[in-house]
């Protein structure tokens, strides 16, 4: 059973409301202190966990996928250079910039900021927030995962039916 739980834990990532609420509070504080526009918490597979701050007009799914892909590419580059991975990425734009920080082993924190703040402020406050977010994610990771993970019993059959309607 423990092995099954571990397998499930390794094959899915489950966020409950209280988990996301804690994460949102932490990110809200970070945005206020650093003066950033918005922040995304993305898992390494490219799924968006939560977004806080100003709305982004672009597709959030695409942004999450690109952030994860970009980080994965640089991580591979780091390994080729003899590093474990690069814990922080920074892309500077003309009006806005984005900093991506590794959170624990599973997630990425992407912060978008503009001229209202500066990189030093963002990095300074991101360090502590990343540490607290890592603790939250570790608690989630080591929690027992039920096989159904809270999904309704007819989820799969309903989903398959929805597929028939869609296609």
């Amino acid at each position: 059973m423990a092995m099954m739980d571990q397998k499930l834990r390794s094959e899915r990532l489950v966020f409950y409301e209280k988990d996301v609420q804690r994460i949102d509070e932490e990110i809200d504080g970070l945005l206020e202190l650093s003066g950033s526009r918005c922040a995304f918490l993305i898992d390494k597979d490219g799924h968006l966990v939560t977004r806080r701050g100003d709305a982004v007009q672009s597709s959030l799914e695409s942004i999450a996928a690109l952030v994860a892909g970009s980080f994965a590419a640089t991580r591979e580059m780091a390994r080729l250079l003899g590093q474990d991975e690069f814990s922080t990425l920074f892309h500077q734009g003309e009006r806005e910039s984005i900093q991506i920080s590794l959170v624990g082993e599973r997630a990425l924190l992407a912060m978008v900021f503009d001229q209202r703040t500066n990189l030093g402020m963002v990095r300074y406050y991101a360090v502590e927030s990343v540490r607290r977010l890592t603790e939250i994610l570790n608690e989630i990771d080591h929690r027992e995962v039920a096989p159904t993970s809270g999904l309704s019993s007819d989820f799969s059959s309903s989903a398959v039916a929805a597929l028939d309607k869609l296609f």
């Binding site: 092995m3 099954m4 571990q6 397998k7 499930l8 390794s10 094959e11 899915r12 990532l13 489950v14 966020f15 409950y16 409301e17 988990d19 996301v20 609420q21 898992d43 390494k44 597979d45 490219g46 799924h47 966990v49 939560t50 597709s59 799914e61 695409s62 996928a65 690109l66 892909g69 994965a72 590419a73 591979e76 474990d84 814990s87 922080t88 920080s101 082993e105 599973r106 360090v127 990343v130 540490r131 096989p147 159904t148 993970s149 809270g150 999904l151 309704s152 019993s153 007819d154 989820f155 799969s156 309903s158 989903a159 398959v160 929805a162 597929l163 028939d164 869609l166 296609f167």
Partner: protein
């Protein structure tokens, strides 16, 4: 890796289209993007070369809608098929929940198909996954080619696991949606049940690595070639429990941290637990510390100008700067000494003038001596009207300013032989010089009479005093000017 977010009420799964180069993976995605209902599809993001060859990945989110209170989304990815981009393909496979293998039905692409299938197995193995227990659908694309191999042949070569397979012609859209629908269903079933995979591996085949499919008609029961369908989804027949292959002990390590490549485990160690320095620690390692303090200066001998020592922790002054400061201080000291000398000389002059007043006729000319030390090349002393400059006398005598009083020409003897005074003589000297002068008046007894009455103020004495005062002021001004010039030069 499926993400179930109860806060957002969303279920996310990742599907990857895999296969050799130019097999039709991106075409599949484009067809889905074109024909899927607009509310259900997202933007198609392609990272490709100028020649429209996938460079990193293509991505498109597909929203299935709300199912059992949960918004169900599939993220569809394609990988670059060229062998050159193997490392990139591996990155995209991270967290995959289901794979569509798009094979090229052309007879000339058999080797490429096999190589791609082996590569898929290898890359999945790095994440601790295998085609044996991962939802897999095989699509035999380009069925419209004249040299397309029979499906049975392709199945024999590429489908050892008995995965559902579909024929397709992606550029026309045929077979695209049935493929996607079949895989999505299997992924959804695996989400709920936790039982991944489409079936057991055939008997005798290893868990990892790809080998050509054995003769599946031998009655092994592991999955005979299925009847292909153009549309619809036909689930695989369930395998009898007795024929399920036992997982070899320790054959596939269960990943402790998904998304990370597997580390070779050693007794007593836990994989994936390499300590990693926190960001502040990494920052501290790169901090550049200031060089240690210490003046490194020699002891200053007495009498020398006191040099300001750099405080500990502060950067030391450049040696040249230190020398310049020393020189400036020395110059200042010299200037102060010269000023003092000038003042002393002026005092002497005043005393002498007082003596002259007491003894009129001895000296008619006034002068403002300029010390040789104060004279510099190119120095110009402006003369005021009525004042003529006397050239410096040989032998180091002073240069003097001779003033024409305008009250008659001075005595020729006095004019030709101006009286010179030593530069720095103590104040007692005039008193000493006075004594030898005493006999002179005695020798000139007929001219000078001993005084018995207070000496009356000679005519023009006040003017002489005024002129003397003027000379003193001018001398002071000249000295200050010269000092300023010297300082500016330094």
């Amino acid at each position: 890796m499926v993400q179930i977010n109860f806060a957002q009420k969303q279920v996310n799964a990742k599907i990857v289209y895999y296969g050799p180069g130019m097999s039709g993976k991106t075409t599949n995605l484009e067809i889905v993007h074109q024909r899927a209902p607009a509310p259900n599809r997202g933007d198609l993001t392609s990272i490709s070369t100028d020649g429209d060859r996938t460079l990193f990945f293509d991505f498109m989110p597909l929203d299935l809608g709300t199912v059992a209170g949960m918004r169900t989304c599939f993220q569809l990815y394609t990988v670059p098929g060229q062998v050159y981009y193997n490392s990139t393909r591996k990155l995209v496979l991270q967290g995959v929940d289901g794979v569509v293998f798009v094979a090229d039905s052309s007879a000339s692409m058999v080797e490429e198909n096999l190589e791609s299938m082996r590569n898929l197995e290898q890359n999945l193995a790095e994440y601790g996954k295998s085609l044996a227990n991962l939802p897999l659908i095989i699509q035999y694309n380009k069925r419209d080619l004249p040299d397309a191999l029979p499906v049975e042949e392709l199945n024999r070569l590429l489908n050892p696991y008995g995965a559902p397979c579909f024929e397709a012609t992606a550029n026309t859209g045929q077979g695209v949606f049935p493929t996607l629908k079949a895989l999505a269903a299997r992924v959804l079933e695996s989400i709920h049940s936790g039982n991944r995979g489409q079936g057991s591996a055939p008997v005798g085949l290893p868990q990892t690595g790809f080998h050509p499919a054995p003769n599946l008609t031998a009655g092994a029961g592991s999955g005979a070639p299925r009847t292909l369908q153009q549309t619809g989804y036909n689930p695989m027949p369930q395998q009898p429990a007795a024929q399920q292959v036992q997982q070899p002990q320790g054959g596939r390590p269960i990943p402790m941290q998904p998304g990370m490549p597997q580390q070779p485990t050693q007794p007593g160690t836990q994989p994936g637990t390499q300590p990693r320095a926190s960001y502040p620690e990494q920052l501290a390692r790169t901090t550049v510390h200031a060089p240690p303090g210490g003046n490194g200066l020699q002891p200053i001998p007495m009498g020398q100008p006191i040099q300001r020592l750099p405080q500990q922790g502060q950067p030391q002054m450049h040696p040249q700067m230190q020398q310049q400061m020393l020189q400036q201080q020395q110059m200042q000291m010299q200037q102060m000494q010269q000023m003092q000398q000038m003042q002393m000389q002026q005092q002497q002059m005043q005393q002498q003038m007082q003596q002259q007043q007491m003894h009129p006729g001895t000296h008619q000319t006034g002068f403002a001596p300029v010390p040789p030390s104060m004279q510099s090349p190119g120095m110009q002393i402006q003369s005021s009207p009525g004042v003529t400059l006397a050239a410096p006398q040989p032998g180091g005598s002073l240069g003097m300013l001779r003033v024409d009083k305008g009250q008659g020409a001075p005595p020729p003897a006095a004019a030709q032989k101006p009286r010179s005074l030593p530069a720095a003589k103590p104040a007692a000297k005039p008193a000493a010089a006075k004594q030898p002068a005493a006999p002179a008046p005695a020798a000139e007894a007929p001219r000078i009479q001993p005084r018995t009455q207070p000496m009356p103020t000679p005519k023009g004495g006040k003017k002489r005093l005024v002129y003397a005062a003027v000379f003193v002021v001018v001398a002071l001004g000249v000295g200050a000017f010269v000092a300023k010039m010297v300082l500016s030069v330094l």
